[in-house]
Symmetry: C3
Subunit: 132 residues, 3 copies
Amino acid sequence: MLAMKYTALVTVATLALTFGLSGRVGAMRQRHGIDAPAITGHPEFERANRIHYNTIEQLVLFLPLLWLATGVIGDAWAAGIGGVWILGRLIYAQAYQRDPKKRGPGMIITILATGALAVSVLWGILRALLGA
Amino acid sequence: MLAMKYTALVTVATLALTFGLSGRVGAMRQRHGIDAPAITGHPEFERANRIHYNTIEQLVLFLPLLWLATGVIGDAWAAGIGGVWILGRLIYAQAYQRDPKKRGPGMIITILATGALAVSVLWGILRALLGA
Amino acid sequence: MLAMKYTALVTVATLALTFGLSGRVGAMRQRHGIDAPAITGHPEFERANRIHYNTIEQLVLFLPLLWLATGVIGDAWAAGIGGVWILGRLIYAQAYQRDPKKRGPGMIITILATGALAVSVLWGILRALLGA
């Protein structure tokens, strides 16, 4: 039983995006002939690698908050904020791959979505502490 | 209460494996005299480091899907697929440490296990959306 | 509904700490003029970067065990052990930033807290297997 079906769908979508970004790292590794375990050698590869890792950094903040928030604000709202997170990541990944200096806006959208989830969870904790 | 006891056991096993791989990074750091915060300096260390990080990359995809899937396909099936994931990781880690070019098969097993969980979760979401 | 309110609060605190450590990486990147996607260039930056990544390595072990353990040992105990984890990470981060050779004690506290959660979860699994 998947009670939180939209939140589950957003979760699968974020994981698919992260997997896709890891695939781009592998593709750049091949294109530029960078053999494992090297993680440097060509800017295009290094950008793809940093995009992937930054996404993992953000994912480990996002997913726990998403699943705590869905219990506070409900499935649809949590999934909606999750959709904003995915949008931010897509903008971030595309902009960063072209030019690392353009990575700001997508990053900010990602962080705002995560922040909105964090505030929701803290609100839920406060209500639970007050016995509401 | 741990309702999903086999899935919980697989979870602890994957985390123990990941912790073990981080221990190997530390051991290689000492063996080759690579002082923190350096992350390069000897191929054996760099391989251990990449194995550990690739496992974290895979873990953040695997664990959320495992716990969503256990609600769809049940504790035993989810844990069984999780066991395949662990097997794939063990093969990957051993092969990569000897020769990075041999990392493919273990990687593919890992990804197939994660993919099977993803398909299970999407099936559960579809059923929930259809109200089944 | 957030039934495990103290565990939820500890979760948000660990994520806030991790986010704060990522902010320090960004600040060091600016201070030392290290443009993305480079991940080397100044020891202070490299330390901040390793502290952040080591914390993610620990976080992916800690959070699943925290949420499994809270179902076994209860909200207050799980959150209490989580508090020790946070303390260990703060000690680790401050000591490592000053001198990487001093990173041991905070690391050990972190691992002991994670280990205590792992033992709790295994105890819960054993009881579930025995039908207790």
